[in-house]
């Protein structure tokens, strides 16, 4: 066990002596320091000393990966660190390192996955289940571990979408089943149209079913539905994380340098986002004019592909209703899924006079051929 007295006072160290490739105690999913962090280190240096320990010919980072990485990016040669004394194994140091990391706040689910991944390299499975999971606020259960651990393997697009709360944990796990390119395409679709979680699930399930039925890949099917987008750089998208970073960067740059916004998080069209020819809705949505309608149009195309008979019936129904020119106060709904059952008619009126007027309209409708036709198959 590591005690306070085992950690040295602050010492000055050469950065070249620190092994940046040893990620044993790197508990962040995204370990790269963000721009604001690098800028801070550039301007003020490292304010809170990292913790390292001697391992072989160099020093291993126990805490402070992003600070040391930022210093490296800034070209700083020497930094101030605290050093663990004694000869502890990596496994011995795991809990103290984790404790230091957790003291900075509750980690995000992606970071939790990274912690479990690192733990899996050093500790027995039962220790992870019985000790680490409760530390992270989960029950001791192999099922919980099985749901969290795969997230450590996420690519950066998916990780960013999860951290940005643009997709949920279940969807992240489902997307992990796809091949990386397909995953990117789908994440980009979800983020671009800002689909709700239930719509993401619906789209995912329909696409999966179509691919299975037609024995085709998502890569082939998505463009046919009007989506060819993929993302090489998630930062082009306005996830909450990116928006926050963008705002912080904006403030910082305007405040400190007086320069305009450097379009690292541009509103411009991502170069790698494409739409299928003829998909006007998608293109409109792309230019920001009609994004919601364009997103809904995509869902409709997907529904038509997955449920051709049902959407055919719905379209036919809409056509018939349109030709009836029903007054706005009367609406008629077909049986759910056109599966027998009953039609639903609704009237809206203010008072008894209004009611009589509506009933008169209904009487007239009853003699209308188009109305009768509506109920004949």
């Amino acid at each position: 066990m590591l005690h306070f007295e085992d950690i040295s006072a602050i010492e000055c160290m050469n950065l070249s002596e620190i092994d940046l490739s040893d990620r044993c105690f790197c508990f962040r999913f995204f370990s790269e320091p963000p721009h604001i962090f690098i800028d801070s280190v550039k301007r003020f240096g490292i304010l809170y000393p990292p913790v390292v320990r001697a391992k072989g010919d160099s020093y291993q980072i126990v805490d402070g990966f992003r600070r040391i990485e930022a210093a490296n990016v800034c070209g700083i040669d020497t930094i101030h660190c605290r050093r663990c004394k004694g000869s502890l194994t990596d496994a011995d140091l795991f809990f103290p390192a984790l404790s230091i990391f957790l003291s900075s706040g509750q980690p995000h689910i992606a970071d939790q996955a990274a912690i479990l991944y690192r733990a899996s390299k050093l500790l027995a499975n039962d220790i992870i289940i019985d000790v680490i999971l409760p530390i992270l606020g989960y029950p001791s259960s192999p099922k919980v571990l099985a749901r969290l651990l795969p997230l450590a393997e996420m690519d950066k697009e998916l990780g960013s979408a999860l951290i940005g709360e643009k997709i949920n944990h279940d969807m992240a796990l489902s997307l992990m089943e796809l091949d990386p390119q397909e995953r990117k395409q789908l994440v980009s679709l979800f983020l671009y149209y800002n689909y709700s979680q239930s719509k993401q699930r619906e789209i995912f399930e329909h696409l999966k079913d179509i691919c299975k039925k037609e024995n085709r890949s998502l890569k082939d099917v998505l463009p046919e539905l009007g989506w060819e987008g993929d993302m090489e750089d998630i930062s082009s998208y306005e996830t909450p994380l990116n928006l926050r970073l963008k705002k912080e960067n904006e403030n910082r740059l305007f405040r400190h340098s007086g320069e305009g916004w450097n379009p690292g998080f541009s509103n411009e069209t991502p170069m790698n986002l494409r739409f299928t020819k003829g998909d006007e809705n998608a293109q409109k949505g792309f230019s920001g004019e009609n994004k919601v309608a364009s997103g809904e149009a995509f869902r409709q195309r997907l529904k038509e592909r997955r449920f051709p008979t049902l959407t055919g019936l719905e379209n036919e129904w809409k056509k018939r209703i349109k030709s009836l020119r029903l007054p706005p106060s009367i609406s008629l709904k077909p049986p759910p899924y056109f599966e027998g059952g009953k039609y639903r008619l609704s009237l809206s009126f203010k008072d008894i006079k209004g009611f009589r007027e509506e009933m008169a309209k209904l009487d007239a409708l009853e003699k209308d051929d188009a109305w009768i036709k509506l109920f004949t198959k």
């Binding site: 079913d209 039925k213 008979t309 019936l313």
Partner: protein, 376 residues
């Protein structure tokens, strides 16, 4: 897709009549403690010499933990006879189910039992005396014709070479006048029952599908030809026969395949001895889809277009079903113009649109089927 093979080292049930190569994997035998001397148990034990039975007290058997390759012999302490659950939204023929056991060794991909029961094991009820006593008293109480089948929670004949239950039942029903037994199967295990004096009270029925559906979706079932051959043999011995196109599965070549099944059927059996032909399209409760996806990843049956029906089961959309039934009826009537066809769990709307008539209600449908039973 090749038929699934028996697990290495397992014991197997082999049809003694030698008309089938079907083998079902059974690796574990559990017997309720109190029935070790039951004659049915002794008979089954003799048929499975390679297995060491585990005797467990009934209350200590945890059925939910048992696997597909486990055979559990026990007593049924509940009722054997139950009415078909049906649903009020669709027409039901008011059939009665006789539960002789749970689960089926054939293991079809689409089988509802995968989510319907709380066990994966093959359960055989061995208290035949209790079964016959309940059956006798229910038949006595019932003033009208009663149609009873054993094929709801298991296949009627799949385990018959082992259990011999159908021999007992055919003999019992041969002495009834108001009660008819329907043995519904995907097997061809008729060796033990073919020569029985059934007195026309048993209808031997087969569920039919195209051979490629059998290969891909119907696990260890007999081939189409073997089923039809078995049906012909039964007809030759005076049995009434029934054929159930249920579930009908939709896929690209379904029309050619199903018409070919109908062609093969009528080329080989005599329609004068067919009591009924039923049709029902594939339907499933939503919980079954992930089970099929997990257990049978190569099966594509759940990826067709389905909508939630009035009974909340997923069904092909109504126009699709009407199209299927209409074509099937046309192909059947081409070969048997007066064919008695009924639909299983469909609305009167679908009946009329596809086969041209519909019973007014469940009781009418029941009377039609009862009447078919009477025809000698």
């Amino acid at each position: 897709m090749p038929l699934r093979k028996m697990t290495h080292g397992s014991s197997c049930l082999q049809n003694r009549s030698n008309c089938s190569q079907i083998r079902y994997p059974i690796n574990r035998l559990i017997i309720e403690e109190g029935i070790r001397n039951d004659p049915v148990v002794i008979k089954i034990l003799k048929a499975l010499p390679g297995l060491s039975p585990e005797y467990i007290k009934n209350e200590e058997i945890d059925f939910s933990c048992l696997n597909h390759d486990t055979l559990a012999l026990c007593r049924n302490k509940g009722r054997f006879l139950k009415p078909c659950p049906g649903t009020k939204e669709y027409l039901c023929c008011l059939y009665q189910f006789l539960n002789i056991g749970l689960n089926c060794p054939i293991d079809c991909t689409y089988c509802i039992l995968q989510v319907y029961l709380n066990t994966n094991a093959l359960v055989v009820y061995v208290n035949y005396d209790d079964l016959l006593s309940e059956l006798g008293s229910e038949i006595m109480k019932n003033p009208s014709i009663i149609r009873i089948g054993t094929g709801e929670l298991t296949d009627s004949l799949a385990l018959d070479p082992l259990t011999g239950i159908s021999l007992v039942l055919i003999d019992f029903f041969s002495r009834q006048r108001q009660a008819y037994l329907e043995l519904k199967t995907k097997s061809d295990h008729i060796g033990d029952i073919i020569d029985l004096d059934h007195q026309g009270q048993t209808i031997m029925s087969w569920s039919l599908n195209p051979q490629n559906v059998i290969c891909n979706e119907e696990g260890l079932a007999a081939s189409l030809n073997d089923r039809i051959k078995a049906a012909r043999r039964c007809q030759e011995r005076g049995y009434k026969t029934g054929f159930h196109f249920d579930p009908i599965l939709l896929y690209k070549e379904w029309e050619a395949d199903y018409e070919s099944v109908i062609e093969t059927l009528f080329r080989n059996v005599d329609f004068r001895f067919i009591t009924w032909i039923s049709m029902g399209c594939f339907r499933f409760i939503p919980e079954l889809k992930p089970v099929i996806q997990k257990r049978f990843p190569k099966s594509l049956i759940v990826y067709e277009e389905f909508i939630p029906g009035l009974d909340k089961k997923m069904r092909y959309p109504q126009p699709v079903r009407i199209n299927i039934y209409s074509k099937m009826a046309l192909w059947i009537r081409k070969r048997w113009p007066d064919a008695f066809i009924y639909l299983c769990m469909e609305s009167p709307e679908v009946w009329k649109a596809s086969i041209g008539y519909a019973p007014d209600d469940n009781l009418t449908l029941k009377s039609w089927l009862d009447e078919r039973c009477r025809i000698r």
